[in-house]
């Protein structure tokens, strides 16, 4: 048997409560553009973090050219020529340094030795050489803060190949890029391929894999599922392998009546991602905004809720046009929004359960002159904790001491105190355990049953299938497909979410 340039065997890694990788394996050859695919949480990013030395507590073996190597730090990985470009390019760049300094950063940090003076001429000379090789038209002396996202990504790729680079990991490089920027990226990938660099390509956009990749490895639940030549598979094959067998029944069923249109959105647009989005929600209906990471679901939710700037288009509530300019305004119009980033945007970790639950609607808990009615606050908070089955010792417990699922229940609970007409949920089950998930689904369906209009944005397509009545598939900030969820499968949604079109 031929030895592969890179082999990872039986990689297992545990995090508190989760086995993120379970005897996962991966192999590739030099000069191979290799797609690594899996649903959210399948373990592909974790596997690549192991390879690049970011996680050190794994078990298993890694072989390069058939020889066993030990990668226990990012430096080890770099010494073997393994370079990674993370999706969040801004975390790896220093904005107020020049392009050249950023490209040569690794040299500045590790190859200076006893030298104390920085030779800027040499830095810019070497950096320009790399930029030229890649045919990137950015000056080495430009400040990184003035670059576009795509250019920043190229600077990172330039940094990666400025040192020894045998394997380059690109973690969802195309997610934030436009079509022409993607083409530019692919040109660079092909050029590196010609130089015998092995490229591991992680992407949610399945269509583009066929354009750029040679082989494809699919992962699911932390395990290796299959490795094939990309020519021998179709999108549907990949989707089937990503999803595996159907999930157990975890979605509650509820009879509810769908009434008149309540919330109508037409040609919604923001300055960044959202592009001509139109949809309608009826009373008693749960609609899904289905889309993968970076598709623009969060941006749509925020635009609806007045949390984005310069929003165009019309939003009608009960037939009346509303223009939510700020979230404060949106709430007064009867909207409620449970944001995705719970700790950052949804809850007050240092405040107690009671304060969190009443924070969105304190007006209900005031007496004359805005004085707070503490006894009513306690009573309602206790009721809400009961109703939501929040596992907390008391309503005076600070939120930071609750589990993620229970924090999320509180984040939802604060909107149940309000009597809104439209509820917007953005990835409400993110980081939530299975038990709490079911509780949250029940809550959402009960809202619909009471005649509310519910918008459910999620990248977990099984949830879209399980809980919504209709769904709009979002791709690249646009609605690409409207479906009745009864009539479609998860595979169909994934097909459209990854840029697939009806023939």
């Amino acid at each position: 048997m031929m030895t592969m340039a890179l082999e990872m065997k039986d990689i297992t890694i545990d995090f508190p409560g989760v086995r993120a990788l379970d005897q996962a394996s991966f192999q590739m050859d030099a000069g191979d553009v290799h797609a690594l695919i899996g649903a959210n949480g399948a373990g592909k990013s974790t596997l690549m973090k192991v390879l690049s030395g970011a996680y050190t507590h794994y078990t298993g073996t890694i072989l390069i050219d058939g020889k066993e190597v030990s990668i226990r730090s990012p430096k080890d990985a770099k010494d073997y020529g393994i370079q990674i470009v993370y999706q969040e390019v801004d975390t790896a760049l220093i904005p107020y340094l020049t392009v050249g300094e950023n490209i040569m950063l690794n040299h500045l940090v590790s190859d200076m030795g006893k030298k104390q003076w920085v030779n800027y001429q040499e830095i810019h000379h070497n950096a320009s050489k790399v930029l030229e090789e890649l045919q990137i038209s950015v000056s080495s002396r430009q400040l990184v803060s003035s670059l576009t996202l795509a250019e920043k990504q190229m600077v990172l790729i330039a940094r990666a190949i400025s040192s020894k680079c045998r394997f380059l990991i690109l973690d969802e490089p195309t997610a934030p890029l436009s079509k022409s920027e993607t083409d530019q990226l692919f040109r660079i990938v092909r050029q590196l391929q010609a130089d015998h660099v092995g490229i591991i390509f992680i992407s949610h956009r399945l269509q583009e894999l066929f354009e750029i990749c040679d082989n494809i490895t699919v992962m699911r639940n932390g395990r290796f599922i299959s490795e094939e030549s990309i020519k021998s598979v179709t999108v549907n094959d990949i989707v089937e392998k990503m999803l595996g067998k159907k999930m157990d029944e975890q979605f509650p069923r509820m009879e509810k009546t769908i009434g008149e249109p309540v919330f109508e959105v037409a040609y919604l647009k923001d300055t960044d991602k959202v592009n001509d989005v139109s949809f309608t929600v009826h009373s008693g209906e749960v609609i899904g905004l289905a889309g993968l990471v970076g598709a623009g679901k969060t941006e749509i939710c925020k635009a609806l809720f007045g949390a984005a700037e310069k929003v165009e288009g019309s939003i009608k509530l009960n037939g009346k046009i509303i223009r939510p300019k700020t979230p404060n305004h949106a709430v007064r119009q009867g909207l409620a929004f449970v944001p995705e980033e719970r700790r950052k945007e949804g809850i007050l970790v240092e405040e107690d359960v009671k304060t969190n639950i009443t924070s969105a609607n304190l007006n209900q808990f005031t007496r004359y002159f805005s004085f707070l009615n503490f006894s009513k606050e306690k009573k309602v908070a206790a009721q809400m904790v009961d109703q939501l089955d929040v596992k907390t010792p008391t309503i005076e417990t600070k939120l930071q001491n609750l589990s993620g699922g229970n924090q999320q229940k509180v984040a939802i609970g604060k909107w149940l105190v309000t009597d809104a007409d439209v509820y917007i949920f953005d990835e409400p089950t993110k980081g939530v355990d299975v038990g709490s998930k079911k509780d949250i689904f029940t809550l959402i369906l009960e809202l619909a049953k009471r005649g509310k209009a519910v918008i459910y944005a999620s990248g977990e397509l099984s949830e879209i299938i399980g809980i919504t009545d209709r769904a709009y598939v979002i791709f690249d900030g646009q609605v690409v497909k409207e479906v009745k969820t009864k009539e479609v499968t998860e595979e169909d949604l994934l097909y459209y979410s990854t840029g697939g079109r009806d023939e």
Binding site: A307, P327, K344, S359, F371
Partner: protein, 336 residues
């Protein structure tokens, strides 16, 4: 993020129960225990320390600091900061005295004009912080200088007092009314302080508006997405901060009956110390009016007792600074 809190939960039992409890106890009651200890030490060293007129003396001496620190507490409650309070106090002091001495205005007008000046500074601070989004600490550092300069320019860097010599060689004719002089005297000065502490404590703790401010201070983005009018409350916080600083400056004017240059600036440091010492009082863990008052009491007792023990005034800042640092150590070490 969740792993971080998990770590904290795991590590606390390891420290041993007694050590953990002791620290928690110190955090909650440290300031009050220190005050009690200081009272005991000072009264042993000098029996007249506990006499009624000395206690009144201490309360009078902390009243201006407390009033200014209460304003700062409000800006801290929205997780802001206001360094311009000392300068605003100077400005208010100069304006109110000049209204009497230069323009012979009645008390009410003089006070209103001083408050309006402060209101303008507060609105300017709020606009630049909320709309232009300059970090609060830096912006108020800038306006601290600007306002100080404005006050100096207004007074032409001279002390304003009754019968002062005007630039044209004549004597100023305005008099400071006796009613205005009452404000800075016992008992009114102490009553004003207590009324302000109690009102602001009620405002922050028992009203919707106070709760909103704490929610904004806890997580601004969450507050915004909960539909709270974040900007409105931040503006309110900076305006109130400037107004209380101005009240401090007016009380100061009444107490000394002159406007010396930069008279208010020395109160900035003490006010910051009082408000931060107050964070931990009774385990509040957030800026609060009662805690700020206790912080001011601690500083006042220290200053008073040390003077009685004949520590020279110029060494006082060492002690004050050290106490401030220990209070901060207690607060932030616990947060770790």
């Amino acid at each position: 993020m969740s792993s971080k809190s998990g770590d904290a939960n795991l590590s606390s039992p390891k420290q041993g129960k007694s050590g953990f409890d002791f620290f928690q106890f110190l955090y909650k009651y440290g300031t009050i225990i220190t005050i009690v200890l200081l009272i005991i030490i000072f009264s042993i060293a000098n029996p007249s320390f506990l006499q009624m007129n000395n206690i009144i003396n201490i309360l009078r001496s902390i009243s201006i600091v407390t009033i200014i620190a209460i304003g700062l507490t409000i800006s801290l409650s929205v997780n802001g900061f206001d360094l311009s309070i000392g300068s605003v106090a100077s400005l208010a002091n100069a304006v109110v005295i000049s209204m009497f001495v230069w323009h012979s205005q009645p008390t009410v007008i003089a006070i209103i004009v001083a408050l309006v000046c402060a209101l303008l500074v507060g609105l300017l601070n709020a606009f630049l912080i909320v709309k232009v989004r300059i970090p609060d600490m830096l912006l108020t550092l800038a306006t601290m200088f600007v306002v100080q300069g404005v006050a100096l320019t207004y007074t032409r860097s001279a002390t304003i007092s009754e019968n002062m010599i005007m630039p044209d060689g004549s004597y100023a004719e305005g008099k400071i009314p006796d009613t205005f002089g009452m404000i800075g005297k016992v008992p009114l000065i102490i009553i004003i302080m207590f009324v302000i502490v109690i009102l602001v404590h009620i405002f922050l703790t028992y009203t919707k508006h106070g709760r909103y401010m704490y929610v904004i201070g806890g997580n601004q983005e969450a507050a915004r997405l909960s539909g709270i009018a974040v900007n409105k409350y931040k503006v309110l916080a900076y305006v109130l901060s400037a107004l209380f600083a101005a009240i401090g400056g007016i009380v100061l004017a009444s107490r000394v009956m002159t406007a010396e240059i930069n008279a208010g600036s020395s109160y900035l440091m003490d006010a910051v110390a009082a408000a931060f010492i107050g964070l931990s009082v009774l385990g509040a863990g957030k800026p609060n009016a009662f805690g700020t008052f206790i912080g001011a009491v601690l500083i006042g007792i220290l200053a008073n007792g040390l003077v009685m023990m004949s520590v020279p005034y110029y060494a006082m800042d060492i002690v004050k600074g050290a106490v401030f640092a220990s209070a901060l150590a207690l607060t932030y070490y616990k947060m770790k």
